[in-house]
Every structure is written in structure tokens, then in C-alpha cells.
């Protein structure tokens, strides 16, 4: 049995974007059991922009699960944004998880926005000025909540959903100087502390799709500017013995090719 996950991040909706994703989203239930959104749903995090997200990504016929991104915090309207999304049936995760009953098994998703700080050997430390300590503690708190949420889920396939990146691999293409603003190794450490099958993130618009954590968990950057399509689809299942790419035909899946 296979669990099929569609994912995209960084769609930055406002009125000028409404309708652009919808034609592709109408096809989504044929190809995926759930849609995961990796944050930065809006431009400034306003209630009106959240209504655009609800209009575009609501009522799809499959569960939609999201985390928020840094843009969704810009106008300090997070409670209003969350309420609008939840009213549209979108599950918003922040330090918690959800288990979805899919035809191929139970899909567990744990999510946090995450934060920056950088990667092993080149990262910010919990030391010095209060501002720096606050910055680093925001990251470690977020990673701790992700680890706890991942380990709390009883499911067949476990997925971690963040906005910030847990690994530097998927940042390739971004300037090295800004890596500490794009992710933190503590998120990877949290992902590796649980039997995670796949980690999805966004935020790095100039990054690349694929990476792995030090513990071997597959990581995919699904930021819209990276995947350059309405969403990507991943099939997870024990029956697959090698990495493969398959074609989606008009009548569903065609034969796999590696």
C-alpha cells in the first residue's frame, strides 16, 4: 500500500494570485491522499490574505495540513490567520501533529514553523546578548516541540513539516551567507530523533529539491519557486525497493520508471 502526499510551500497568496493554483488543485484528489503546505501561505500574514488561501486551498476533497511561515507572521495577525484557515477545514500545525487515515495506511504529520540559526559548526550559539540568546532559544524551543510532536504520533508513515530547512543540502543555490536565516540543524536533529520517513520544508526560494538529514531521512524543499509547479507528489510505501519516478497519466498512474 502506498500513501500519496502532495506538497507545496511559499505560495504567498493575495488577491492577485487567487485562481492560479486552482485548476491544478482540482486534479489533486486523483493523485494524492493529502496536501501539505510548508508555510508562507500569504504575503504579509493578514486576515484578508488568509481568506485568499482559504478560497484557493479550501474544499479540495482531501485533507490539507499546513504550518505557517515567517511571512504569515509579518502583520501580527496569527490568531486571525489560523482561524480563517481552520474555518476552511485546513489543519494548522505548530508544535503538534495529526494522523490521517489514508487508503494506504495512517499518515502522521508533525509540524512547526521552525526558525534560523544555521548548521553544525557554523551556527549561532546561545551566548552573549539577550537578543542572540532569544534568537537561538526560539530555534531550540521549536526543534524540541517538533521532536516531541513527531514522537507522539501513532502512525504507519511519519512526515515532518516545517517552513525553515532542517538541512543545508536543500539550500544549495542560496548565498552561503544567509544559510543561518534559512534553517537550523536542530530541526534535523529533531527529525532524526523519531522514525521519520520524509521531511518537507519551504522558505529557500533559490534552493534545491533534495537532501537528507545526517540520520538518513529524506528532505524535500517544496518551495513553489523551487518545484516550479503547483505541487509535488510523493509516494511513500514499504513495497518500493528503489527510488523511482513515475508518470501521472490522464487515467492515473502509469508504469514506474527509474
Amino acid at each position: 500500500m502506498v500513501i500519496r502526499i502532495a506538497a507545496v510551500g511559499d505560495v504567498h497568496l493575495d488577491e492577485d494570485v487567487v485562481g492560479r493554483f486552482r485548476p491544478a488543485l482540482e486534479e489533486l484528489p486523483e493523485h494524492a491522499d493529502a496536501l501539505l503546505l510548508a508555510g508562507d501561505l500569504t504575503r504579509h500574514g493578514t486576515e484578508s490574505e488568509a481568506r485568499c488561501v482559504a478560497q484557493e486551498f479550501g474544499g479540495l476533497g482531501v485533507p490539507v495540513v499546513t504550518v505557517l511561515g515567517n511571512h504569515d507572521h509579518q502583520c501580527d495577525q496569527v490568531p486571525q490567520v489560523v482561524r480563517v484557515l481552520e474555518d476552511a477545514g485546513i489543519t494548522v500545525l505548530e508544535g503538534n501533529g495529526v494522523v490521517l487515515e489514508c487508503a494506504g495506511g495512517r499518515l502522521g504529520i508533525a509540524g512547526v514553523k521552525g526558525f534560523g540559526g544555521g548548521f553544525a559548526g557554523r551556527c549561532a550559539s546561545d551566548f552573549g546578548e539577550p537578543e542572540m540568546k532569544s534568537f537561538v532559544r526560539t530555534t531550540t524551543d521549536s526543534a524540541d516541540r517538533l521532536a516531541e510532536a513527531l514522537r507522539s504520533l501513532d502512525c504507519d508513515v511519519l512526515v515532518a513539516l516545517t517552513h525553515y530547512s532542517p538541512v543545508p543540502d536543500t539550500l544549495a543555490g542560496e548565498p552561503l551567507e544567509i544559510y543561518p536565516f534559512l534553517g537550523a540543524y536542530q530541526l534535523g536533529q529533531a527529525i532524526d530523533s523519531a522514525p521519520t520517513a520524509l521531511a518537507l520544508h519551504g522558505h529557500a526560494h533559490a534552493g534545491t529539491e533534495r537532501g537528507t538529514t545526517p540520520g538518513g531521512v529524506r528532505v524535500r524543499n517544496v518551495a513553489h519557486p523551487v518545484i516550479k509547479q503547483a505541487y509535488s507528489v510523493f509516494h511513500l510505501g514499504d513495497h518500493l525497493d528503489q527510488h523511482q519516478v513515475s508518470r501521472i497519466g490522464s487515467s492515473g498512474m502509469e508504469r514506474s520508471w527509474s
Binding site: 500519496r4 492560479r20 507528489v233
Partner: protein, 89 residues
């Protein structure tokens, strides 16, 4: 590629100010635009979610820095349904 020519060479501080303006100006709010200073112009590249946003970026930059020659290579991200899936064992 659209080239807007003006007088005087681009300055490193202008480059920094444009980069920050693209993020901090509420009418733009784009973090994914790369600003590169070249000999003859400042090159803006990256991708945005709508043609309107691309026009707004160019309008704001030209308005704020009328003397800086700007080359624009900003695309609008495609939103077609995927034709392939990735299978992960």
C-alpha cells in the same frame, strides 16, 4: 530582459537598500529577488507569483532610485499540475 538606463554607476549601498526595500516595502514583500550589481546595471532576478508583483517591483525600484540603471529578469512561477511523482521507499 528590460533595461532601464540612468546616470551614474550603481553603488553598493544602493544595492543593499534595494534588497531591503524589496522585503520591507509592504507593497512588495519579496525575499526571493536577487540583486546583483554589474558594470552597467543592477540586475534583478528571481521569480514571483504574479505579473502584477513583477511590475510593482520594477515600479518601486525605479521610483526610489530613478538614476540607477536596472535590468529585470524576473519570472512568474508556473502553476501547472505535476506530470510525475517521486516514489520513496
Amino acid at each position: 530582459m528590460t533595461v532601464h538606463r540612468g546616470a551614474g554607476p550603481p553603488d553598493e549601498y544602493v544595492e543593499a537598500e534595494i534588497q531591503r526595500m524589496l522585503t520591507e516595502d509592504p507593497d512588495v514583500a519579496e525575499q526571493g529577488i536577487t540583486v546583483v550589481r554589474r558594470e552597467r546595471a543592477l540586475v534583478l532576478s528571481g521569480e514571483v507569483e504574479s505579473p502584477h508583483r513583477r511590475e510593482e517591483i520594477l515600479r518601486r525600484v525605479a521610483e526610489r532610485f530613478p538614476d540607477v540603471p536596472i535590468t529585470s529578469d524576473i519570472g512568474v512561477i508556473r502553476t501547472q499540475a505535476p506530470t510525475q511523482v517521486e516514489e520513496l521507499p
